[in-house]
Assembly symmetry: C2
Homo-oligomer: 459 residues x 2
């Protein structure tokens, strides 16, 4: 990168917030995929005007710009695969307003999702989307990836809560999309086109979010099953019952064992599967529903059910589910982490397929996730340095992807495409559809400078 460009960037954000030192570049060269691509410069703007000036310069000088939140993405969305400038949004981290009368809030993209949730909950409001990374990921990143989370079965995902955005286009123009209100049909829905566009269409500088009233009570239970097929059928039974649980999570045997090896709290390591279920709402209603679901799980041959009687007990029930991700690394140093979705009624088929693959390949495959919406996380734990193991794992991933699409599902429910799933999008998208995406991309970014090489290949 030309020294003159570095100087111009430095004059836009200030000396302190523009760096090309090797240490800094290394820090911003990777994300949660652990893949590494060195950027040439890292900048930390504070205001929309600085972002706009950076994008104008990038358009003039044709260098890549990669927007970045907390760098917790799982598919390489924030990686500088073609070098260029990583544009970190974390200094833009103010909650601009919360409006209880109109149930909206306005935030900057660098706000940590978990912090935002605490702030609004203290006011009796509720921002439901809760990706597992909420304690450290940013709203801006969540919006760019359309993050999901365990509460999606009842409350939907990030896209269902974004009312409007301020966006800096790749050319430097600033636009507002959407409305303050929950209804609005003037012009194309560019808000929803931006959500999940993985930082390839514009840089988000402000987000208007829809809020709900905070539910009065949350009830939590677990159900342990001898056979995973019974657990899968119980999931279908719950959906058909008319009760919409706040969360409906499951863990297979390998996930339970993995969590137990980490926690040592006496989890049922011989069980086929565990369900973790929450209901929420007015006290009598939430309690009535959780009791009904206990009975329902027992009717589907759950070996045991356990209802939390206190908030502490509820946290304990969640421990196992939350321990899986960190615990996985006790099995093997590397992880291939996928988040497919199948129609709920097909969850038993998918679970069986994972089981078959596990037996056939000998790979360590742990499966758990959001059973309520068919969003299964399967993780292959391996040692990537062992070439034969890596080969087997890649074949297993492709097999599961194809089977997922065959079942009417999708290869990504929450993590996006980025670079890691880019080779597989043709399992789901036709040439005509990919070509249309290219034309939309070109309408926003004629010079292909904003996060190039993500989701699909340029031509």
């Amino acid at each position: 990168m030309k020294k003159s460009i570095f100087k111009k960037l430095r004059s836009i954000v200030g000396r302190k917030y523009c760096t090309d030192s090797e240490t800094d570049l290394i820090c911003y060269s990777y994300d949660a995929t652990n893949l590494r691509y060195m950027p040439e410069v890292v900048v930390f703007p504070e205001r929309m005007e600085e972002v706009a000036a950076i994008m104008r310069l990038a358009t003039e000088e044709r260098f890549p710009v990669i927007p970045r939140g907390a760098g917790t993405g799982m598919t390489g969305g924030a990686l500088a695969i073609k070098g260029g400038v990583v544009l970190v949004l974390t200094r833009m981290n103010r909650i601009l307003r919360t409006d209880a009368d109109n149930m909206v809030a306005e935030v900057e993209p660098g706000v940590i999702t978990g912090n935002f949730q605490k702030v609004v909950e203290a006011k009796g409001l509720f921002y439901p989307p809760d990706p597992s990374s909420a304690a450290y990921s940013t709203i801006g990143g969540n919006v760019a990836e359309c993050a999901g989370g365990a509460r999606a079965v009842k409350y939907g995902v990030t896209k269902d809560y974004v009312l409007g955005l301020s966006v800096v286009l790749p050319t430097g123009d600033c636009i507002h999309t959407g409305v303050e209100t929950t209804k609005g049909v003037v012009g194309y829905d560019m808000t929803r086109l931006m959500v999940g566009s993985e930082g390839t269409l514009g840089v988000i500088t402000k987000i208007v979010l829809r809020l709900l009233p905070l539910p009065e009570t949350v009830c939590t239970m677990t159900a342990v099953f001898d056979h995973i097929e019974d657990a899968a059928r119980a999931v279908s039974g719950i959906i058909r019952s008319g009760i919409i649980p706040r969360t409906l999570e499951y863990m297979d045997q390998s996930a339970i064992r993995c969590a137990e090896s980490y926690l040592n709290i006496g989890l049922p390591v011989d069980a086929g599967a565990m369900l973790l279920i929450e209901t929420d709402g007015p006290k009598e209603m939430a309690e009535m529903e959780i009791s009904k679901l206990c009975a329902l799980c027992l009717s589907y041959r759950a070996r045991s059910v356990h209802k939390a009687k206190t908030p502490k007990e509820a946290l304990d029930l969640w421990k196992a589910r939350k321990a899986i991700s960190p615990a996985l690394f006790k099995l093997n140093p590397d992880k291939i982490n996928e988040d497919i979705v199948v129609p709920r009624s097909k969850v038993p088929d998918l679970v069986k397929k994972i089981d078959d693959l596990r037996n056939k390949t000998g790979l360590t495959i742990v499966s758990f996730g959001h059973a309520g919406d068919g969003n299964i996380h399967f993780n292959i734990m391996l040692d990537k340095s062992k070439t034969s193991e890596l080969k087997k794992a890649n074949v297993a991933v492709e097999t599961l992807f194809k089977y997922t699409v065959e079942l009417g599902g999708t290869i990504s429910g929450e993590h996006g495409v980025g670079i890691t799933k880019l080779p597989f999008i043709r399992l789901e998208m036709s040439e005509a559809e990919i070509d249309l995406m290219r034309r939309i991309k070109k309408a926003f970014d004629p010079n292909n400078i904003l996060n190039p090489g993500k989701i699909f290949l340029h031509a």
Copy 2:
């Protein structure tokens, strides 16, 4: 239009389903705006392949194509303002499947919304979006306009229920957008870009819809207020209470009087306003909530409240609200019908402004609508042949639009832009935003043949 093109169209859909007779052209020259533009041909395809062939021909021969459902749109979306071929989707009217296990359905665009609702409700399922036109408008039209309705306050609008689409692009290519599942983030959200695009980006040939379990019970009440400000404050109180009503409708005094002149059932014609409220869900819950809302309305100085004790009583309570639209024409032969949205907390301000305008201009302005989401329908009843009255009315519309935007609202909550609101979009959208829409349009429709002249001007 060249005779050779007519012959080709006829060979695509069959002789019976292709017409250029004057009588037929007149029938398809207008919609609910009552504006009239004669097309040159009207075709009635039955299958996606026919639609694709028509679009390929239109691209080759460069004639406009205007997709049309039931023609009930309120902003001119289905009008052939540049001549060309009106493409009527009503023969494509099959409900292809309903899946209670996965809570999805797949329909063709010509399915009547109200019929679809009845079919799924008979199976214990629920498709909430209920535009007032549901008894005769089509799902395809609803999707193209992102139709709303009274239940939006609790259940959202059409866009919240569309999981995926089959679309014929203006060039004739066929694409699928979205997923079968409630979560999916592969590629850009082209489903949501299509919803509300008013037939300018593609012709929708199949829709995958999300369903909910049918609520067990619906409870209905009305509340009569001496002063409309009290009613508006009660609306805010209801939203803040944490109870999310199924519907929360209001009628101002002129709307009540209008309905009474039509129905003669003893409506309170001296009241300032009436609220019509529903709750739904499990029986005890819905009943408890409606009782709470009765008490709440009384605490906001409602003169009286009335809870329906039977389904028939509930229908009676709705009579007044449903009578307004037809009743309006007793006042004057012409109607200017707008559907602005303001943040809920600003509803009192807007209502006052309408009152002021009514007093200042002497115009007959009736206001009613979806108070729960700030979506106010104001109708100016006039005699368009009286030029001074028409002038005054147009000034009043512009005044209210500007005030709406000033209050942080939008000039269209449900009806779209079409041609009737096209002159006003600059109140809400900047040149950069309009230009971006043009580039998106160009990405889909390089030759500008699909529903040209709608939403924004081409260049």
